[in-house]
Every structure is written in structure tokens, then in C-alpha cells.
């Protein structure tokens, strides 16, 4: 029989010492960052998105899926939606900086999905010349080809991520090194934090709001000319085709123009005049399209940096929006 390799020494003692030291160091590390204001944060990756999508499919007729951009991700809280409409189960599947159309198309084509959709339409992703579809396409691809064990792994990881600060990306050794070398200071907590249900909490006080607004305005100016009538008609037709497929399975869709404010709202209104874009779209689709300006409870809420709602405002917005849906009898 082949001898097994072994290394002499008191291994039980070695491992006990290693584990005690490791636990002590990890507890210390956790406390250090908690004392500096960090809170647990779940990582927004394809794995979590795929898990949520799977849950939405399994929820059957009771599912209401929120798709859209970061405005929906930060602005529509599924927990609050469920408080107002407890009969339904809400799933947050919006993707930052991306057009919702690939995901909308995918749900429309998937016969396993029999729920309803809230589709947030950011003017830049739906009326802009270059709708950003790369990430949703990539995540959908991941969804299709992921191993069955992936959802179990994601669930296990979330259990750690939602409880431990040391899992936060900003406090990893590489991030620590970057901060120390380049900024000569320790990392500070960011303004965005994801919950396991993929709702993102935003604290405007932790970001530079002026810089944020300048960033969105710069992106808007660099976008190039808006789409013409023909392209708008083509895009509306595509949305309507998806609506029809969902309707055929008994599904419903609500389109939503999320709130934006200040200089950014003005710039968006100038780039895509409502009468020529949003109103055309709302007439082209056979499902309701809610513009935040049309609902006084929504119109009065302001964004933290022009584009996104702070989480307390997001809760107010969600509550008012859910009440509006209820009033219109959309998701009974």
C-alpha cells in the first residue's frame, strides 16, 4: 500500500491556534469597519439577479417583477410594495445603467413567467441613440447557462454578505491598498447598499451630490442626437409586441417614468420633449404608462442628486406609486 504523506507535529494544537487567531482577527476587522460606519452590503452580480429571476418564475401568477434602470433599483422598494399590495410578491430585477428591453423581451418570451411587470423607462435608455443592452444580455446568458448549484451557492453567500461588513468590497485588502496608496486614507462607506432582495439603499449625504448631477448631465450631453420618429415607432412596436405576448398569458404591464429633478429633469425634458416621446409611447402601448408628473404624490418627491431617490424618499415614492396602482386597480 502506498504510504500517505504526512507532516509531523501537533496538528490539533496547530489548527486550534490557527482558528482562534483567525476568529480573533476577523472579529477585530469586522469591528474596525463597523466603527467607521460601514454596514453589510450584498454584491449586485449576475448570480443574485438570476436567483431573483428564478424566484419570480416560481412565484407564478402572484409575481410582480420590477425591471428598469438604477432609478427603479433605488426607487422602488419591493418590501414597501408588498406592504401596500400584500396579495402580490414583488421582485426587484432592475439593472444599473442598462436598458430594460432585453429583460422585457426575455420575460415576454418565457412561457414559465406568468406574473406581471413594472417596466421603468429611463428616457436615455428608451429614447437615447445607444440603449445599453450589453449587461442585461450578459446576465440573461448567465441565467440560461448557470449550473443548478449556482443558486444554492448564491443563497449561501448572501447569508454572509448580509451579516458581515468584512465581505464589503470597499474593505478588501486590494481596496485598502488602493486607498492607502492613492488617497492616503482608509476607505469610507459609500452611498449605495444592496439588500438581499436587490433593493438598493441610497444615502445622498455619503456622495457628492453636485458631482453626481454634473456626471448625469455630462452623460446626457455626450449622448448624441435623440432618436427620430421612425426609430421611436420601431421601439414602441417592439414594446407592444412584448406586451401582447405577456397579455396572451394573462400578464399585465405598467410602464413608469421615474422621478428626476432639478437641472437634470430640465435637460431630459429638453432632450426628449414629453409630447414627442413619452406621450407617443404611452399611446402606442396597450398597457398603462405612468409619468411621475401626472401623480401629485409622486411629482413632489425630489431626487438626492437629480437622478436617484434617497432610500427614505424611495419608500415614500414606492408607497405613493403602489397606492396609485391600487387606485387604478392594476395589480389586484
Amino acid at each position: 500500500m502506498l504510504p500517505l504523506p504526512e507532516v509531523d507535529g501537533p496538528w490539533l494544537r496547530t489548527w486550534c491556534v490557527a482558528l482562534v487567531l483567525a476568529v480573533a482577527a476577523l472579529v477585530g476587522y469586522e469591528q474596525l469597519w463597523r466603527s467607521r460606519g460601514f454596514e453589510p452590503d450584498v454584491r449586485d452580480r449576475a448570480e443574485l439577479w438570476a436567483l431573483q429571476r428564478e424566484r419570480a418564475i416560481r412565484a407564478g401568477r402572484g409575481a410582480v417583477v420590477i425591471i428598469g434602470t438604477s432609478r427603479a433599483l433605488l426607487g422602488l422598494d419591493p418590501k414597501v410594495m408588498e406592504e401596500v399590495i400584500p396579495e402580490r410578491k414583488f421582485f426587484q430585477l432592475a439593472i444599473r445603467g442598462s436598458s430594460p428591453v432585453p429583460v422585457f423581451r426575455d420575460f415576454a418570451a418565457d412561457p414559465a413567467f406568468v406574473g406581471d411587470l413594472i417596466c421603468e423607462l429611463h428616457p436615455m435608455t428608451i429614447f437615447g441613440p445607444h440603449p445599453a443592452e450589453a449587461q442585461p444580455v450578459q446576465w440573461l446568458e448567465f441565467c440560461r447557462h448557470r449550473a443548478w448549484v449556482s443558486d444554492i451557492e448564491t443563497w449561501l453567500r448572501i447569508q454572509f454578505q448580509q451579516r458581515l461588513v468584512l465581505e464589503v468590497m470597499e474593505v478588501t485588502p486590494t481596496s485598502l491598498l488602493r486607498n492607502l496608496v492613492e488617497k492616503r486614507r482608509l476607505p469610507v462607506p459609500g452611498g449605495y447598499r444592496l439588500r438581499p432582495d436587490r433593493f438598493m439603499l441610497f444615502e445622498a449625504a455619503r456622495v457628492d451630490a453636485d458631482r453626481g448631477e454634473a456626471h448625469w448631465l455630462k452623460g446626457l450631453r455626450a449622448m448624441g442626437p435623440p432618436i427620430g420618429e421612425a426609430e421611436l415607432a420601431r421601439r414602441c412596436e417592439e414594446l407592444e409586441r412584448c406586451v401582447q405576448r405577456l397579455k396572451a398569458r394573462g400578464g399585465r404591464v405598467v410602464f413608469l417614468r421615474m422621478v428626476s429633478s432639478g437641472a437634470l429633469y430640465e435637460a431630459e425634458a429638453q432632450a426628449w420633449p414629453r409630447a414627442r416621446y413619452w406621450d407617443v409611447l404611452s399611446r402606442s402601448v396597450s398597457m398603462p404608462a405612468v409619468h411621475f408628473k401626472d401623480v401629485p404624490e409622486l411629482a413632489g418627491i425630489q431626487c438626492g442628486e437629480g437622478s436617484h431617490l434617497e432610500h427614505r424618499d424611495a419608500q415614500r415614492f414606492t408607497r405613493a406609486f403602489a397606492a396609485e396602482l391600487r387606485k387604478r386597480g392594476l395589480f389586484p
Partner: protein, 473 residues
């Protein structure tokens, strides 16, 4: 299911409990086969059928071989095994590559032919377990091994989960005798096995994925304009990434094997301290290089048929070794470069034989440095998606892109310098040693401290979860 996942931690805990139940050795082996299939099915359940096909075909062929009365009969049986294994490998790994290249050839001859692209998912580890199965049948054909008496043992040899998807490439004569008597790890073996597992995970998750992979991606994505610093940092970082990724997997595999009472062969022995390319291949992916030596290089005649034929055999083995890594000409180019290095080394040694200036410690150190640099240069086509990317990166190394703005930040350069500088220095210091003897020389408290640091680093480095690079091969 990958080693650096929580699901694997739970799986391993379950397997260790199952393996230590008071049941017969036969039942324990059956359990190991079943959990190995479950492990493989975690990627894609239907692909378990491929494992079964490989197991059954090679088992049947090997058992029939001694009963064949003629050499032709034995050859026919060997052909069945080779066709079956190469058939699976060829279809799943090379079908699109072959059809695309055929279409290219046709078009270059003026025939307007477009190959259909087949939607084939590559089963993980297929290159590893088919090579293991073939080595068994070839050895029986050669008469150096007798057919094994137990199908259960053979199924465990093909499917043993710790090294099923990325090696080490086992030989039947090494593994099957370990299945005869009950095996369980002692406390010392368990302690060492778990330490190997932690070390392997540290190499993979912290060094390869956490520190090096992001900046390798950045450097190669901007290969078209990479300046000297970015190109060198990207190349050296990839040399580190591929080493820690693959060596990390092999060490994990050995550690898990040891916890279950099985001894798996060493696959790496401080390769970046190699002096010369022959030495490098005795230290890097040892089980593949010995496989290529025994079943390809020696079959072609080895060094027994004169210098020219020896050099041809070397090149053929390295080119096919390159192609084994993936269906792309960039892998073949990587193999070709190593073939050239080996040929150059042979000729160089012949010319410099007996010259005093090429002996001694200084010459040896210079040899180590040159070997490391040339091996790193060869990693460029290996990592690149296209030859264009590879040439751009190589041009960047020699400053052909002028003063391009750097995409890597200062702290990235610090990371490469610290990780790669430390790695090369450590490997140089222990180059004639082994992991085990290094561990044996450490006092118990230092081992505990090193383990604690690695465990902490594993918890606080939640980088992007990447599969092991060698899974795709």
C-alpha cells in the same frame, strides 16, 4: 461546484462524514464514486454520461486486450479506446475549431464554404479524465499493466472528484493500488490535508483572483495601446495568475485527496525557479508533461533516432501539448514557443558543454532569470484571445506603443511587484525542496500563524468568483 465555494465546503464536510462511517471499504468506495458523480453533475448533470461512457468503454477494452490472440486484435482494441476518448474530446472540444479552420482553408482555395457554428458546451475536465483513461488502456496494450479486477475501483479512478476536473492527471498504476485496502487519514494526515486545502484556496482566491486577475484583465483589454510598464506588469501578473490558479487547484486536490486517505501526485514544484526549460517542464504541470513524454514523445521515438528527429519529436509534443490546452491557434503558438525553447536549450547545452563560464551559481541564477522571463513571454499568446492582441502586448513590452497613458494604477504595480517578487524569491529559496519539507521545517506555532493569516485573507478577499482557468481545458 468549485473548491473556492461555500457549497463545496458543505459538500466536503458531508463526504468526510460519509467516508468515516463504520461501513465496509467497498461501500465507502461506492459512496466516493456516487459523490464524485454528484460533484460532476453540479455543472451539468447529463455530462455524467460521458464519465460513464469513458469508464465502461476503457474497462471493457482493457479487459478484452489480454484475451486477444493476435497483435492486430490488441491494436484494434486499442483503437476503440483511442477513438472513443479522442472522439469525445474531438467533438466537444475541437469540433468548431476544426470546422472553422476547414472553412478557412476552403475559402483560401477559392471555395465559398461557410461552416455552421455548433452550439457545444465543453464538459469540464474532459481533457483530464480522457487522458487518464487512455493511459490505462495504453499501458495494458504495452504490457506494463494488467487489467484491474474491480470495475468499482476503475470507476473511482476515472471519477475521483478531487482531481476530476483539472488534474493532477493520474496514472492507474498510481491510483488503483490505493483502492485495495481501506484508507483513512490519520490526525497528522488530516491536519496536513486541510492545510494544503487552505493553501490552495489562498493561492486561488486571494493571490490569483483577488490580487492579479483584475489587473491582468485590464492590461490585456488595453493591449492595443499598452505602454512598456502596463505590458510588463500585465505579462508578469498573468504569469502569477496562471500559476496560483492552477497550482492552487492542484494543491486543493491533493489536500482533499489526503483527507480521504488518498495520495495524489505532486503537479508543481516551484516552477518559476526552474533553470532551463527542461527543468521547467519537470516542475510545471508535471503530470501532463510526463503524460506527453510517455505516450507521445517516446511513442514518436524520443531521442533514440538522431538529433533532427529528437528535435522534431520535442516540437510535436509541445505543439500538441499546446493544443490540448484549448482549441485555438494561440495555444498552439504557446506550445510552439516552448518547443523552440526546448530545442534552443538542447543546442545551447551542446555548444556550451564543458565551458566553465556557463557553470556555477551565477550562471545558474542567470539561467533561472532567463527561463522565467521567456516563460512569461510565452504566456502572452496563451492569455490572448487573438494573435493581434498577443502581438500588441508583445510590442508593448518593447515600447512600440510609445508613451501610451497607463491603464494600471500605481497600487496595481505595487501588487504585481510584491506578489511576483515575493513568489520568485520564495520559489528560488526553496527550489530544491518540496512543500512538505518546507512545512516540516516550520515550528508548529508558525504553521498555525501562517494558516490563520491565510484563513483571514480568504475571508476578507471576496473578489469576483472566477472558475479555475484550467477548467476550460
Amino acid at each position: 461546484m468549485i473548491f473556492n465555494s461555500l457549497s463545496f465546503a458543505i459538500f466536503l464536510l458531508g463526504v468526510l462524514c460519509l467516508h468515516n462511517l463504520p461501513v465496509s471499504w467497498r461501500v465507502k468506495k461506492l459512496n466516493l464514486v456516487l459523490v464524485s458523480y454528484l460533484f460532476y453533475a453540479a455543472w451539468n448533470p447529463p455530462f455524467v454520461a460521458l464519465l460513464l461512457i469513458t469508464t465502461v468503454v476503457d474497462w471493457k477494452v482493457a479487459n478484452a486486450m489480454p484475451r486477444a490472440r493476435t497483435l492486430a486484435g490488441r491494436r484494434a482494441l486499442l483503437c476503440i479506446s483511442l477513438l472513443s476518448n479522442f472522439g469525445l474530446l474531438g467533438f466537444f472540444k475541437y469540433a468548431n475549431f476544426l470546422t472553422e479552420n476547414f472553412a478557412l482553408l476552403m475559402r483560401s482555395l477559392g471555395v465559398d464554404y461557410h461552416a455552421p457554428r455548433l452550439d457545444i458546451v465543453l464538459p469540464v475536465g474532459i481533457s483530464f479524465y480522457t487522458f487518464e483513461a487512455m493511459s490505462y488502456t495504453i499501458n495494458i496494450y504495452r504490457g506494463t499493466l494488467k487489467p484491474w479486477h474491480s470495475l468499482l475501483d476503475f470507476a473511482l479512478f476515472i471519477g475521483f472528484f478531487p482531481r476530476m476536473v483539472a488534474g493532477p492527471i493520474m496514472r492507474a498504476e498510481y491510483f488503483l493500488p490505493q483502492c485495495v485496502e481501506p484508507r483513512a487519514a490519520t490526525g497528522k494526515q488530516l491536519g496536513w490535508g486541510l492545510s494544503l486545502l487552505v493553501l490552495g484556496l489562498f493561492e486561488k482566491s486571494v493571490l490569483a483572483d483577488g490580487f492579479l486577475a483584475p489587473l491582468v484583465d485590464q492590461a490585456f483589454q488595453s493591449a492595443a495601446t499598452a505602454g512598456v510598464v502596463d505590458a510588463w506588469a500585465g505579462m508578469l501578473a498573468f504569469a502569477g495568475q496562471i500559476f496560483f490558479d492552477f497550482s492552487g487547484y492542484s494543491i486543493c486536490a491533493r489536500g482533499v485527496g489526503l483527507c480521504l486517505g488518498f495520495n495524489l501526485p505532486d503537479n508543481f514544484r516551484f516552477p518559476y525557479a526552474a533553470c532551463g526549460f527542461r527543468d521547467f517542464w519537470q516542475r510545471w504541470h508535471i503530470t501532463l508533461s510526463t503524460w506527453l513524454r510517455d505516450y507521445l514523445y517516446i511513442t514518436l521515438g524520443g531521442n533514440r533516432r538522431g538529433t533532427a528527429r529528437t528535435l522534431f519529436n520535442l516540437m510535436a509534443a509541445m505543439l500538441l501539448g499546446g493544443l490540448w490546452h484549448g482549441a485555438s491557434w494561440t495555444f498552439v503558438a504557446w506550445g510552439g514557443l516552448h518547443g523552440l525553447y526546448l530545442i534552443g536549450e538542447r543546442l545551447w547545452k551542446r555548444w556550451t558543454a564543458g565551458m566553465k563560464m556557463f557553470e556555477g551559481e551565477v550562471a545558474k541564477f542567470a539561467g533561472i532569470v532567463v527561463t522565467f522571463l521567456l516563460v512569461s513571454v510565452a504566456w502572452v499568446p496563451f492569455r490572448s484571445q487573438t494573435f493581434g492582441e498577443a502581438f500588441s502586448m508583445l510590442a508593448g513590452l518593447f515600447g512600440f506603443h510609445g508613451h501610451a497613458p497607463s491603464v494600471l494604477r500605481f497600487n496595481d504595480l505595487v501588487k504585481v511587484a510584491v506578489v511576483m517578487g515575493g513568489t520568485c524569491l520564495l520559489q528560488y529559496l526553496v527550489r530544491d525542496s518540496s512543500l512538505r519539507s518546507v512545512a516540516e521545517r516550520m515550528p508548529w506555532w508558525l504553521r498555525g500563524l501562517v494558516l490563520a493569516l491565510m484563513i483571514v485573507a480568504l475571508f476578507v478577499t471576496p473578489g469576483e468568483d472566477r472558475a479555475f482557468i484550467y477548467f476550460q481545458f
